[in-house]
Symmetry: C2
Subunit: 319 residues, 2 copies
């Protein structure tokens, strides 16, 4: 009999899940579409069925310790998903209370960036760290903060919103209705906005000059930069510069040993890491200089979400 957990990575399009051992081995996995279900009840019916099917086909005897769920706008304390812009279920969904109908095991839910941080702590590059920050660079900028070996949830479960701290006073319009938030500059969409801003400021030949705003992706900018496109290169330089300067402020809150950059944009590698590290070190307060690393995730790329979600349960049982 081996102890296992189930990790559920609830994304806007797909939901992936897996059965994971303490050492991070995935014994079985599966997925269902998320966006096919207009009602959360129907979605949960389908998900529970798929998970049961996965469990039945297992060869070794397993003891299920619990289920961890990473989901957008999830509240750890309440077990809810609240006003998630990229899900069809509106308002406040009591996700955990509803899902308990199917499985009588401990369940923990939190947002995807927090799950990534816990994943990094349990399985990834932060295994020996008590204080670190994970930044997820996707469509937006998410963050999970670990302090004293514990994820920082805050009094209401909503801590770790570094993407919505102000990078430029009265700057770019953010989806949160305020202006100048870091994620309007540093994220996949922020990179596209910066490319357009730079082109507007100093028009110049670029292999992306025929691409409209709706078609442009940060991956296209990364590919152009890798081919030497000057404007694309400058876009990453500006983005990393801003991220580095901003993270030098983040350090002053919890003084982490390392900051991990994860998600799609981080795959651009040195294009984003190099200017970020340079600007970070330049802007740091003296007492921190030379002591804090900016690192890529130590988790396997394909399975970050499920591992992070499963790790939520291990993290609860450790502490």
């Amino acid at each position: 009999m081996i102890d296992v957990v189930i990790g559920i990575d609830l994304g806007g399009t797909f939901t992936k899940f897996g059965l994971i051992t303490r050492s991070g081995e995935t014994l079985a996995s599966g997925s269902i579409p998320t966006d096919r279900f207009d009602k959360v009840e129907e979605y949960q019916d389908d998900l529970a069925g798929a998970i049961r099917e996965m469990m039945q086909n297992l060869v070794p005897d397993v003891h299920l310790l619990g289920m961890g769920i990473g989901a957008p706008n999830a509240n750890y304390y309440k077990g809810t998903i609240e006003y998630a812009a990229n899900l069809k279920w509106k308002g406040v969904v009591p996700f955990v209370d509803m899902f308990r109908r199917f499985f009588d095991v401990p369940m923990v839910i939190t947002n995807d960036a927090n799950a990534a941080a816990i994943g990094e702590m349990v399985y990834g590059g932060a295994r020996d760290m008590m204080d670190f920050i994970v930044i997820t660079l996707g469509t937006g900028l998410g963050s999970g903060i670990v302090s004293n070996g514990k994820l920082v949830y805050g009094h209401d479960g909503f801590a770790g919103e570094i993407g919505h701290t102000c990078a430029v006073r009265n700057g770019r319009q953010c989806g949160c209705s305020r202006k100048g938030c870091l994620e309007t500059y540093v994220s996949a969409s922020g990179i596209c906005r910066t490319f357009f801003e730079l082109m507007a400021g100093e028009p110049q030949p670029s292999m992306l000059s025929n691409v409209g705003y709706d078609s442009l992706t940060s991956q296209m900018v990364a590919e152009a930069a890798q081919k030497g496109d000057a404007l694309a290169l400058k876009t990453f330089e500006v983005t990393g510069s801003m991220l580095g300067a901003h993270l030098s402020d983040s350090v002053a809150y919890t003084s982490p040993e390392a900051i991990f950059l994860c998600g799609g944009v981080a795959k651009a590698g040195n294009l984003i890491f190099e200017p970020t590290r340079r600007s970070f070190e330049n802007h740091l307060l003296n007492i921190y200089k030379g002591n804090i690393q900016i690192l890529p995730s130590g988790l396997p790329d394909s399975n970050v979400g499920v591992l992070g979600a499963g790790a939520l349960i291990w993290a609860e049982s450790i502490t």
Copy 2:
């Protein structure tokens, strides 16, 4: 036999100390000058003697659990005071290791803002809170962050430097050698700088228009504001506005239940609290709006430093 702790508030000019019970009662107290001693050895000799004298005169039998020390630039993990600008002892002083020659009890040292936060948690307005921030507004701006019921020290003991996060990119010159740090705007000295900047921008009659920069204090600006001086009033409005906007970002890190404003500048009361609260609420991310209080310290004014230092020991023995 009652359990007691000794709190030592090591300031640039005076060192105050007291014998404190679990409920916050001060059984005995004393003080010695700090700046009279060029060598830390001589200072500690004198301090130990004064503490022993205080102990001898006690009527009830006491059991000393430990000593807590609040000091500028103190490192919790190393027990050191490092490069403190307003002390005569230069470089890195292994304060705790040296002071153990005199007393064989547990000793904890941390910076004054962290001690204030622990004091607030043990004796003050944060007794029921697991997540809160204390901002000390003195010559500079110090901060202590409590998350999950524990003070955030960070991996190196230097967490909680909100005064040195950037309020204005390329703004005012800070003593830390960088530019635009929050404490160059929001602190006793920041208030004087703002008064001068406002006068320069739009010269107008003021009861402080004959006061030179070296003579001006934030208390004088507060007194002028209380008498209705327009420029002094505007100075507090600008200062509170900036503090509120900045704290709305701080919230996104640890999502505290409350932020306490302490220290000399906080004594200006509504002059500083009112614009701070207004700007804070205006700038908050939606999910936080209406849920986070900006409060004055719940500690007795005269004894904050000693209580906070003593509370360090209670906090260690609780957790």
